[in-house]
Amino acid sequence: MSIRLRLILTLTLATLAVWLSAVVWIEHSTRAQVEQVLDSRLAEAARMVSSLLSDHRIALTYPGALIPADEHDGYLRHLSCQIWSEAGVLVGQSSGAPEGPLTEVPVEGYSTSVIEGEDWRVFTVVNADLGLRIMVGDSIAVREGLVFDVICGLLLPAAVILPLLVVALWIGVSRGLRPLDRLTEALRLRSPLDMSPLPLAPAPPELRPVHQALDGLFARVRQARAHERDFTAFAAHELKTPLAGLKTQAQIARRAPDEATRQAALAEIEASVARSDRLVRQLLDLSALESGEAAPQAVALEAILGEVQHDLAPLAAKQGVALAVAGGEAARLPLPRVLLYTLLRNVAENAILASPAGSAVRLAARCAPGCCVIEVRDQGPGIPEAIRARVTERFLRGPGAPVGGSGLGLAIAAAAAERLGAGLDFPPCGPEGGQVVRLVLPRPG
């Protein structure tokens, strides 16, 4: 349901409810007032007739019209008076009064009776001196008519005003929601590339948080885009150097004056293609880490370590480095397999490339109830102190970095560790040298 419709319905129904309860309350109080006033009139009239009779200001001559018929419209016309003797003889009555007695109640006071199917309210005065009973009564239907007139007086204007009220509400709500319409329109017309803050149109206080939240979102998207653009530019530059190498080597191969030069150039081309391939794979890894969704599954640590060892065996053999794997036998961890594999592969690859020929790289896993610790230990020169803190920056290559590295391996490892919620640190080299990369994986349960 739209806000506009909801607001108008709510306001209309609430107004209606207030109005109706006012009507009910007014009906009640009017009825009470009318009864009180008319009751006291009945009593007054009866007493007045009684005292007039006592004073002999009026005489009872014949049974009939004691009180002349009042031709006025309205309530008084319905006031009826009867004078009865103690013997039960009607000595006088007003015109229009019913034939039978107004009430059967003999004592003085108010009573209610039904005469000719009509409800009557009657006041009786007993004039003991004259031996007369004076009854003055009125029709209850007339009283109801009075109350009904009052209620009608309330409801009729309401019936006219209510539609006007709905129109007024419609206009008011529409005007109130106009900033929202403007915001909607501004967002609808926006180009997907436009990440500038929203125009500073006068916004009501209720919309300001929305404006702020949207501007905040735009700023974050802008930042992410800039980051992505920087990264893409950087990646393109990183690919241009190997391309330049390939191009020069290809030109050399084509015009080499002798076979040895040609073969050397071709070998360089092959090596360069292998390195560029690695760089592209790493770039893809990184972009998959940033955007891809990876579902956790029960991962056997030992199997992953084995897989890393198997996949890196050709590289290790080429570098003359022994790659050993230990531990992790029984541990099964609920995490996205591809993340852990990417992480370990990149760290191990880095370690192998940093290792001198004839040395060893060890991947060792130790599991405790709360966590699993995987250490990748090499016998290379270690990360220089100067860049230890920045070692996970993208495209950062240390002064003594292995030839052909992309500067992405540890950046990928750090990104994967972050998504795994794991700790990745590079403790300073010990006295025995070599670098240790330590990964601490949380292990629930």
């Binding site: 390939l246 080597q249 050399i252 050397a264 150039a265 360089e268």
Partner: protein, 228 residues
């Protein structure tokens, strides 16, 4: 002509070494700024030009360029960079570079630009060296001796080029050998003699003089057959 190449990518550095050698230069490739500084400090002016990569593992190549210019070094510097937007080129040239090439580049273009830089630096107007009736074309590595075209092998031309850069100056055997390093063939103890012999066969025995115990030089212009 000796060229100092500073490039950290091993494949490209190798390509530059071999490629520039094929184009008749004598390049020496180094991989980082520290090595380059040491080489420039130890060098007594034999590097004719510097090919400098901007992104190096121990800093920006432009830092070395600024340092060279601050020290009054006027040798031509050609910047190589993957960052080759116009703004990057302008920044590099304004820092004192003589030329700027974006990666990837054409080896022939690089060689031609280096030749142009060297020509300008040496104050020559024409793209060839001339001595004693021999015109040596640096771009094609061919010559014309007294109106007759002459062909040289790359090694012969490298030796000839070095001698013709400063005719009359004595070039030691070690210096000439250095020009021949880096070719895939071994430099034997008599390699220089072999190539000098071949050159003499093409240009006449008197064109190159042997200075006993010191090395070789080109004969003075008047001694070989006059002005042809």
């Amino acid at each position: 002509m000796r060229i100092l190449v500073i490039e950290d990518d091993p494949v490209l550095a190798n390509g530059l070494s071999v490629g520039l050698r094929l184009a008749g230069f004598s390049p020496e490739a180094l991989g980082c700024l520290a090595d380059a500084r040491a080489a420039l400090a130890a060098d007594d002016g034999t590097f004719g030009a510097v090919v400098l990569d901007i992104g190096l593992p121990d800093g920006e190549g432009t830092a070395l360029l600024a340092q060279m210019r601050d020290a009054g070094d006027r040798r031509p510097v050609l910047l190589l960079s993957a960052r080759d937007r116009v703004a990057d080129r302008i920044a590099g040239l304004d820092l004192g570079a003589d030329d700027y090439l974006g990666k990837p580049f054409d080896l022939d273009e690089l060689a031609a630009r280096l030749r142009a830089l060297l020509r300008r630096n040496e104050g020559r107007a024409r793209p060839f060296l001339e001595w004693n009736g021999l015109i040596a074309r640096l771009d094609t590595m061919t010559g014309e001796y007294r109106g007759t075209p002459v062909k040289f092998s790359p090694r012969e031309f490298a030796l000839l080029h070095h001698l013709m850069e400063r005719p009359g100056a004595i070039r030691s055997k070690a210096e000439l050998e250095e020009r021949l390093y880096g070719w895939n063939e071994e430099v034997e103890s008599n390699t220089v003699e072999v190539h000098v012999h071949k050159l003499r066969a093409k240009l006449g025995a008197a064109f190159i003089e042997t200075v006993r115990g010191m090395g070789y030089r080109l004969a003075a212009e008047s001694t070989v057959g006059g002005a042809g």
